[in-house]
Amino acid sequence: MSGDAVPSPLPSTAAPASGRPILEVRDVSKSYGPVLALRRAAFELRSGEIVGLLGPNGAGKSTAMKVILGILPPDEGEVRLFGENVQSDPVGAKRRIGYVPENPQLYEFLTGAEYLDFIADMYELDVEHRAARIGQFFTALDLKGHENAMISGYSLGMKQKIALIAALLHRPKLLILDEPLNGLDPRSARIVKDLLKSLATREGVAVLFSTHVLEIAQAICDRVVILDHGSVLASGTVGSLRDRLGRAGSGLEELFLNLTGTEDIQGVVEALAR
């Protein structure tokens, strides 16, 4: 990690991935009209764990994240956060979750500072300390000097950084990050990856994040959950998946392609090149 002072979300208390699950996704199904987006999906997260939610486009990753956050009600099954059904107290659940959506949808007519102040208001954070905390994030993520510019003028990466700060500002116990490294420059991506690892190992924050960059998932995730057509195809550590599929020495990309049935890539490329 770089030498920048990234703010600590919680007082430092070691919390290894253990104990009761923070998050339990129990046989959740969700349809959009005739399209079944999630089919009896089930997995869990424990304190201090980083879990990668992987899958092809349209696999149901974003839907799963919205159901976990309580902003989409499941058709069947339930999501429990700290043992409580998310749907029974959605506002309480949201207070404990930090969420970065797939594409940062921000209020672009606000400046970066105004937006984060607004977010801090929504979490009812202490006014006295928020300026220092937001300032630390601005400095660490190279946004210093842009805080009073309207977000409409920001690049995609800058918007993504604002969305990340908004998710971390209230020191959540669970982070749900949908493609959080989209548009980030290599330095910022490294800072975010290291920050996530630090939050998990030092503060016991559980992190569920989706990405299409499998190298990143392999590098920072304790476990992966692979979704396809709304169903959980496999979950576990990369090593356990390797053993299960009998593919010793394979990387996550090979395992993923093997599981999701996209090994015919060469044929597709040849057809397109014709």
Binding site: Y32, G33, K66, L69, I71, L72, P73, V91, G92, K94, R95, Y99, P101, N103, Q105, L106, Y107, E108, F109, L110, T111, A113, E114, D117, F118, I119, A120, D121, M122, Y123, E124, V127, R130, A131, I134, E147, N148, A149, M150, S152, G153
Partner: protein, 543 residues
């Protein structure tokens, strides 16, 4: 100029407008295709024709001269009405594309020339607003057939269609101009630049309506005492003069004016293409403001009973209202209507008489109520895809409801109180009238806000498209019609009471009491519908 490309693009733009909603509707369904508008036009046209024809026959049997007079007035007015409606609706609803989307719209980088884009966009506007033309032409045909003016009607209908297209072209001029205005303040620092932009917007929209909208132009000409031959110098009035000339048997003059109108439309088309090519500035709106102070806690919003969370939500919406190009026309609507209403009101010497009384009613009752309705109907849709933020944050639905209601009520109430003070100070209708009118301001603002929220919580549109709308088109029509009807139902008894000298007697007290009681019941019903709609809406993220 590629005609196929123009038609294809126009088709896409129309589809973009009629497929408003939550993005889950079936694009293959009949009602999601532009052809559905043709069916709606046909149904409206024939229905209105049948009703008016029956009514005209009844009037004609009793007073043929009155029917003829009515028919000639209506038929000659049709082309002006078509243009006027497109311009009023266009200013309010056609400029709602965000700056970000406007700059990343595929039309910017596809091989489409400015002429092709302007032609396609104007055709799309003509098609979308053809519903209003179907209504007026249906009524016109009913009168024309009943009074034997079929030839003049066909002539007027053709000119009306041209007027509709002219409206579309003028909206294109305004669209490119406002985009240019946005880029004028880009990269400038400070809130003063934002204020400057709003003032410039107001001036441009006022000037635009004064110069190009015949409905306003006629008032201004009447105010200036210009009529008859003088009006011939105004190109926008040529279609109506042409129809009148034909009705008078002056076929040559009618043909000449119609030809001149065609040339005028072509010139405006050329202007629109030129403005698009010259001023369309596809750059993101980039601006810095003064350093933000984190200590702000919105004390004046807290003073009206809002919690810190609710006050912050309202403050966010207010900032959007004055900073977002696509919302500025909504903010300016009451100002524009007020200025034009005042022109009418002040025509009456010393503000006395029926015209002045009605003008007072418009200012105090109609404008604040309509403004609250506009703000509330757009309150959820204007969030666009950032509506996800409201869902992801730990905000109780009751707080969202209170904040959205306050964001509609407070600005409308501010306008209402300003108009009320103007009315009390300038027209001086008396203490009793002042008190009653003050109560009316409160009632119509509450009605507009809750009715608007009831629609917004059910039918908002969050999509970013070439022609986005904040509320789906049909519910928008429903909200406007029901809102206008209910506002007038509350306000008219009071307006007539003021016109009648505001007597304080038993009859007046009873009449006003009934009006206010009915108003209170309607407001309570709208409040319930708005609150339940908001709670239901917030259960499932729409995008």
């Amino acid at each position: 100029m590629d005609r196929r490309k123009i038609l294809r693009l126009a088709n896409v733009l129309v589809a973009s407008q009629i497929r408003a909603g939550r993005g889950t509707s079936d694009p293959g369904s009949f009602f999601a295709r532009p052809i559905a508008l043709v069916l709606a036009d046909a149904v409206l046209f024939l229905s209105v024709f049948a009703v008016v024809f029956e009514g005209a026959g009844f009037v004609g049997r009793r007073d043929p001269a009155l029917l003829y007079l009515l028919s000639t007035e209506v038929i000659s007015f049709l082309p002006l009405l078509a243009l006027g409606v497109v311009l009023i609706a266009g200013v309010m609803f056609e400029l709602s594309s965000t700056n970000r989307f406007a700059t990343s719209d595929a039309a910017n980088w596809l091989p489409i020339t400015p002429v092709e884009y302007v032609a396609a966009s104007s055709l799309a506007a003509t098609f979308v607003y053809s519903v209003t033309l179907a209504l007026s032409l249906g009524a016109g045909l009913g009168l024309a057939v009943a009074s034997g003016l079929e030839v003049a009607y066909v002539f007027a209908a053709a000119l009306s269609l041209l007027g509709l297209f002219l409206g579309g072209l003028l909206i294109e001029v305004l669209r490119a101009s406002t985009q240019r205005l946005s880029s004028l303040v880009a990269r400038r620092t400070g809130r003063a630049a934002l204020a400057l932009r709003m003032v410039v917007f107001l001036v441009v929209i006022l000037a635009f309506q004064s110069i190009f909208n015949p409905l306003f132009l006629l008032r201004i000409l009447a105010w200036l005492g210009v009529g008859g031959t003088g009006a011939l110098a105004v190109p926008l009035l040529w279609p109506s003069r042409a129809v009148l000339a034909l009705l008078d048997g002056q076929v040559g003059l009618a043909g000449l004016l119609a030809a001149a109108d065609v040339v005028f439309v072509a010139l405006i088309g050329y202007l629109a293409a030129w403005v698009r090519a010259r001023f369309w500035a596809p750059v993101p709106f980039e601006q810095s403001l003064e350093a933000h102070r984190y200590a702000t806690r919105h004390p004046w919003l807290a003073a009206v009973g809002l919690s810190p969370v609710e006050a912050s939500l309202v403050s966010k919406d207010f900032r959007g209202l004055v900073r977002r190009r696509e919302l500025v026309p909504i903010l300016l609507t009451p100002v524009v209507i007020a200025i034009f209403s005042l022109v009418t009101t002040l025509q009456s010497p010393s503000g006395e008489g029926r015209g002045a009384g009605f003008g007072v009613g418009l200012l105090v009752a109609w404008i604040p109520g309509f403004f609250a309705l506009l703000l509330a109907t757009t309150s959820f849709g204007q969030e666009r895809r950032a509506i996800q933020t409201l869902f992801a944050l730990p905000i109780p639905p009751s707080s969202v409801f209170r904040a959205k209601a306050a964001a509609a009520v407070l600005p409308a109430l501010a306008f209402g109180l300003a108009f009320w003070a103007l009315e009390a100070g300038y027209f001086q209708p008396g203490a009793a009238a002042d008190i009653v009118l003050l109560a009316v301001v409160g009632l119509v603002v509450a009605l507009g806000a809750f009715l608007g929220l009831a629609f917004a919580s059910r039918y908002s549109d969050f999509q970013e498209r070439p022609r986005p709308q904040f509320l789906r088109p049909l519910p928008m029509v429903g909200a406007m019609l029901s809102g206008v009807g209910l506002i007038f139902a509350i306000a008219l008894p009071v307006i007539f009471w003021v016109i009648g000298g505001a007597p304080v007697d038993a009859v007046a007290v009873a009449d006003l009491g009934v009006a206010f009681a009915v108003g209170a019941v309607v407001i309570a019903a709208c409040f319930g519908a708005a609150r339940s709609g908001t709670e239901r809406f917030l259960r499932s993220v729409p995008v």
